[in-house]
């Protein structure tokens, strides 16, 4: 036990002391914070410009569409009004070339062409200096749509004030997830959270599993492993490595989640202070029980995969060979990721159920299913049991490969040799 502890301590402290760890742990949340704060700020930048209305409107519709648009274009008290030029359809080309000159000279920002097609609901054209500004174009499009709608309604003899009201309607779709236990928070939020959690589990397992792999190769390459295995039984060494690196992972995740949570909390005040509109990020509704299960799946999934990664490390002598030898393990890990969307769309489908039972995909798929839908506890329990069994098997096989492989410096073993390693070790 003292030896196991010594190995865990070395794995943990050496990694936590490294510059990389400190960098990643500190800058992870900074990156996360930037992801939460920058998009609204960028959206602020893409808002329509103040002199949006400083344009020429060439109205060939003969239905007063130009007037309506001019009245609805957002503008400040100081910025110029749009100039409306009502033209006959056949003189539109001449009017357009005039307007082009005006824009080129810099008198106006751009011109908008309205014709019979526009009224039919098909198209309008805009040319101007700000044609590539997403914010401006969206503002004009919105006004255009509403105005066309209002004109058409007026043509149907709907009261013009009522027509404007109807055109301005903008219903929002609020979504809410329903489960067997009733309301369970916003469906969209849970879907995103489910996806996020599955992906996070996948990333963490790969990240820390590869760390174990590299650690084993380093010990082999520096030949320090022989001294260590002369003092520590290989099983203890393997366990210490996996647990030590796992502890590093958990430390990092706790740091990330804590700061991530805090950043999410202070995000709204910060954005308000910067003048951007923001609403609090809704947190997914996860019960404490589910949270514990989530952590359990992470730990088991990590143990399963990192033991396999350790075995791969013991089989090879350098990182290039490791990439190749690790492919089967990584494929096992990627397989559930390929099905993420399928499971997300229909978390109760047979595919989803099977994937959340298979031990190699369960640690990623089951937590996601639990967040996006309601999984019976019995099913969760069976899945955990399966993963536990798989962990036991993976550790058993890995320990044997590890014991033999650690002192093998020749070429990579063939599958047949590998089988012999597994059988021969005691």
């Amino acid at each position: 036990m003292a030896k196991l502890w010594a190995v865990i301590r070395r794995e943990y402290t050496e990694r936590v002391r490294s510059k990389w760890f400190i960098f990643a742990t500190v800058f992870g949340p900074v990156l996360f914070g930037a992801l939460l704060i920058l998009p609204p700020l960028l959206a602020l930048r893409t808002k329509a410009s103040a002199d949006l209305a400083d344009i020429v409107i060439l109205d060939a519709t003969g239905a007063g569409l130009g007037q309506r648009i001019a009245a609805s274009l957002p503008r400040t008290a100081l910025s110029p009004r749009p100039r409306i030029v009502v033209v006959a359809p056949d003189s539109l080309t001449a009017a357009e070339s005039l307007a082009t000159h005006e824009v080129v000279r810099g008198d106006k920002r751009g011109y908008l062409v309205l014709d019979a097609h526009t009224l039919a609901g098909d198209s309008a054209r805009y040319a101007g200096r700000n044609a590539s500004s997403i914010g401006d174009m969206e503002a004009i499009t919105t006004v255009l749509r509403r105005s066309v709608l209002a004109v058409r309604l007026a043509a149907l003899h709907v009261d013009s004030a009522a027509a404007v009201d109807i055109a301005a309607l903008k219903p929002q779709l609020a979504t809410e997830r329903l489960s067997e236990r009733g309301r369970a928070g916003s469906g969209m939020v849970n879907a995103i959270a489910g996806f996020g959690i599955a992906f996070l589990l996948y990333m963490s397992i790969i990240l820390y599993g590869q760390t174990v792999l590299r650690g084993v190769i380093e010990e082999k390459n520096t030949r320090v492993s022989e001294v260590v295995v002369a003092s520590v039984p290989t099983n203890t060494l393997l366990a210490g490595k996996v647990l030590g690196v796992g502890a590093v992972g958990i430390t990092q995740q706790i740091a990330w989640f804590t700061t991530g949570y805090l950043v999410a909390r202070v995000r709204v005040p910060i954005l308000h202070a910067l003048g951007a509109k923001a609403e609090a990020i809704p947190f997914p509704s996860v019960t404490p029980g589910a949270a514990v299960v989530l952590v359990l799946f992470f730990v088991l999934g990590y143990i399963f995969y990192s033991s396999l990664f350790a075995a791969v490390g013991a089989m090879v002598n350098n990182e290039q060979d490791a990439q190749q030898a690790a492919t089967p393990v990584i494929m096992l890990l990627v397989a559930p990721i390929l099905f993420l969307q399928t499971v997300l769309v229909n978390p109760s489908s047979t595919t989803a159920e099977v994937l959340s039972w298979l031990p190699f995909s369960a640690p990623i798929i089951m937590p996601m299913r639990m967040v996006v839908s309601t999984v019976p506890w019995l099913e969760v329990g069976l899945s955990i049991g399966g993963v536990l069994l798989a962990c036991w098997g993976a550790v058993w096989v890995a320990a044997r490969i590890y014991r033999v492989g650690l002192l093998m410096y020749g070429k990579k073993p063939t599958p047949r040799e590998l089988l012999r390693w597994i059988r021969s070790a005691h």
């Binding site: 190995v7 030949r223 320090v224 002369a230 003092s231 002192l407």
Partner: protein, 325 residues
């Protein structure tokens, strides 16, 4: 854990280890007396490292048994009594020297405070901690190769092992480090510890060892105390020197296979190994009769190097053998 009353430090009984393609160790038995410096000699590929790895329970013998201080070598805690320096040496490169040593002590069960005290004293003893510079605070890869070797010795000895096993300890050492290692080995013996080391350098073995075992092709060729082994071969070796062209005059005698098994011409002196059944008197008489002028005729103790070549030669000398060191 204290050693039992058994007087052997290591006892290997009829051990065999097979790999897929070949048998590395075949039916090997040997006993290392407690408190001795014991040399495991043999050409490269003779099975020395495999034997040592089995001692340390890194590999499992297919047949046979091993006891260390009278206990089965797989017993819990036995490895804590052993200090091991493998042939392929290495440390965690990015770790601070002190932290590596603390780790190596910890996996042998030495508590942190005690380890720190011993580390300081060892670093000072081997000149890695002077008033000017404390290499203990440097990272391993900032040290020169020689200094890393010293750190590795310290790691081997930090837990005050009763039994020290060194696999090819002199390979890759410069003469100064080799000497400090020899000094350490002599000190260890004075302190009553047992040292087993493997080597193919016969001169080191001859000067350091109390007992030896020569193995080749995984099999024991001979073993015993160095003096005893030499005595066993005494009387079979003669050093002869001639005046003038005496060697030519005596050529017929020197080429007589019934009398001389082998003659090593080291320019001024011929080292002669007598053939089976021949005796030195007979050789002397024949040389005198040949009329050659004899400057020296002396019965000599064979060097371990000679015995080694002789013994291993009997089973076929292998490539990679180097007698001088």
């Amino acid at each position: 854990m204290h050693p039992t009353g058994d007087t052997s430090a290591i006892s290997i009984t009829r051990v065999t280890k097979r790999f897929s393609a070949h048998t590395a160790v075949r039916d090997l038995s040997l006993t290392v007396p407690r408190g001795a410096v014991y040399g495991l000699l043999g050409p490269n590929g003779a099975g020395k490292t495999t034997t040592i790895r089995m001692l340390l329970d890194i590999m499992e013998p297919d047949e046979g048994s091993i006891t260390i201080f009278g206990r089965p070598h797989t017993e819990r805690g036995i490895t804590d009594l052993i200090g091991y320096l493998p042939e392929e040496r290495g440390l965690y490169k990015k770790m601070q020297v002190r932290r590596v040593l603390r780790f190596l002590a910890a996996i042998k069960g030495v508590p942190g405070k005690e380890a720190d005290r011993r580390i300081t004293s060892w670093l000072e003893r081997l000149g890695l901690r002077t008033p000017d510079r404390d290499w203990g605070l440097a990272k391993v890869d900032e040290l020169s190769r020689g200094m890393q070797q010293k750190v590795q010795f310290i790691g081997t000895l930090l837990h005050d092992p009763q039994l020290v096993i060194l696999d090819e300890p002199f390979s890759g050492l410069d003469p100064i480090n080799a000497q400090s290692l020899k000094d350490i080995m002599v000190d260890l013996r004075k302190e009553g510890r047992t040292v087993l080391f493997s080597t193919h350098l016969m001169e080191s073995a001859e000067r350091l060892c109390d007992s030896i075992c020569i193995i080749a092709h995984g099999e024991k060729v001979l073993d015993g105390g160095v003096a005893e082994v030499k005595a066993r071969h005494a009387g079979r070796f003669v050093a002869v020197a001639f005046n003038g062209n005496g060697a030519e005059t005596a050529a017929a005698v020197l080429n007589d296979r019934a009398l001389i098994a082998r003659a090593d011409d080291s320019n001024r002196t011929l080292e002669i190994q007598l053939a089976e059944g021949a005796d030195p008197q007979q050789l002397l008489r024949r040389l005198v009769e040949s009329g050659a002028s004899i400057a020296r005729f002396e019965l000599v103790q064979p060097s371990l190097h000679r015995i080694f070549l002789d013994a291993v030669g009997a089973t076929g000398v292998e490539e990679g053998i180097t007698g001088h060191g």
